[in-house]
């Protein structure tokens, strides 16, 4: 279904203006091989709220982190790199 992402820099825009960057993962340079494998390849792929990254390529061209319910695509922005930042 179509939905809008409320970009803190640009306001509410169609999801078509964004690239999907996948679910939020944190890279730890000191991780073990097993943790590296799980972080690189495995995904929670949750049905429900999920923290993820989107890139506003047709707008401010900043990455933002948001929470989206993957069942109904309701979006809550969490964090964005501000313009000029």
């Amino acid at each position: 279904m179509g939905f809008k992402i409320d970009c803190p820099n640009c306001g509410p825009r169609s999801y078509h203006e964004f690239w999907f960057g996948g679910e939020l993962r944190r890279y730890d340079p000191d991780c073990t091989d097993e943790e590296d494998y799980r972080n690189t390849w495995l995904r929670a792929n949750a049905a429900g709220p999920q923290q993820e990254r989107w890139f506003h390529y047709a707008g401010c061209r900043r990455w933002l982190t948001l929470e989206r319910d993957t069942v109904n695509n309701t979006v809550t922005p969490l964090q964005v790199i501000p313009l000029g930042g």
Binding site: M1, G22, E23, L42, R43, N45, A47, T70, V71
Partner: protein, 403 residues
Amino acid sequence: MSGLLRRRTYLHAAEPKRSYDVVVIGGGGHGLATAYYLASRHGITNVAVLERSYIGAGATGRNTTIVRANYKMPESVAFFKRSFELYRGLSDELDYNLLMSRRGLFWLAHSENVLRLQRERALLNQAFDVDTVFIGPDEVKKLCPQIDLEAGGKGHPIIGASYHAPGSVIRHDAVVWGYAAAAQRLGVHVHEGVGVVGITVEKGRAVGVETTAGRIAAGTIVSATAGYSSTVAALAGVCLPITTHPLQAFVTEPYKPILHRIVASADMLVYISQTSRGEILVGAEIERYTTYSTRSTFSFLAECASRSIDLLPFTGKLRILRQWTGLCDMSPDYSPLMGPTEVDRFLVTAGWGTWGFKAIPAGGMAMAELVATGTTPANIAPFRIDRFRDDRAVPDRSSAGTH
């Protein structure tokens, strides 16, 4: 062969037993085929297939019914060739007319890059005795006169194609009903409306499922749940390399037979065929974001209809009847994920993305053999779930047809 267009299979409405040798989660093609081959090839009939909705409600009932073997990794070509051969004999085996109809399938190229890809595909397929040939625009036009070689005159004319003559369409509902009916005749229980809400793991071994109809003990559990593979595996504490993406398609109203071939463009990411019922069926690429929502979008309809008209101008006069969305369990390398997990006796057949329907007979047969013998059949060994751990991906993105 009885009943040309027999209606759906009526399932015995028995209550689930408290215990089965094998519990298959998911009453789609792969789940039902696994149960059928367990019963027919290995004599294991104390089997239940649990489907939370109705059988075929998920990806098996939502795909675009194309079967083909023109893959581009040696492992995949061999596997899908086997599946295609099994499909050819399946109507007889199941005593259920699947309306398999041989059409011939194009993958059109509009760019040098894709042209090279299709040539490689044809050469590899021929090495595996799969009938795929590399052809030029003149032959495309001869085989399918309705195609506009200028592709809408937008600067991307068709410059060649791979042509896979065995490419066919099959009535997908019949595949589900045929497997369900045949499995049921052999003693398998197929339970609709029974959802799995938990998987009981004791000392690293799966021992049963919690369902909406109570607890059921199981010797072995097989998950065949397509778009929901991650959420079902999570019940057993297993994490998979899968993301769930929506894929949309639409059909027009039924028309007289006009389009015999299956027309797909690897550059424009659209594929078009005419169903046995006469509808023109058009599908496209998956959405790049993940979701479990099956709501369809107007933007897809507009974009996909436009591509369809560019390739086949006559479709511009047709009226759209219906559009829908299915969920695809995409793997990182566009190949399936089949076999044991880190939880003993919990097996997964997943990662079927946009290519699962054509794999149903071979996939079901391999999973049944794995369950019955405990040994992974050679033809699915390359598709083991943890292959990324040691960099043994089977990258076959160009064969998905939707990327």
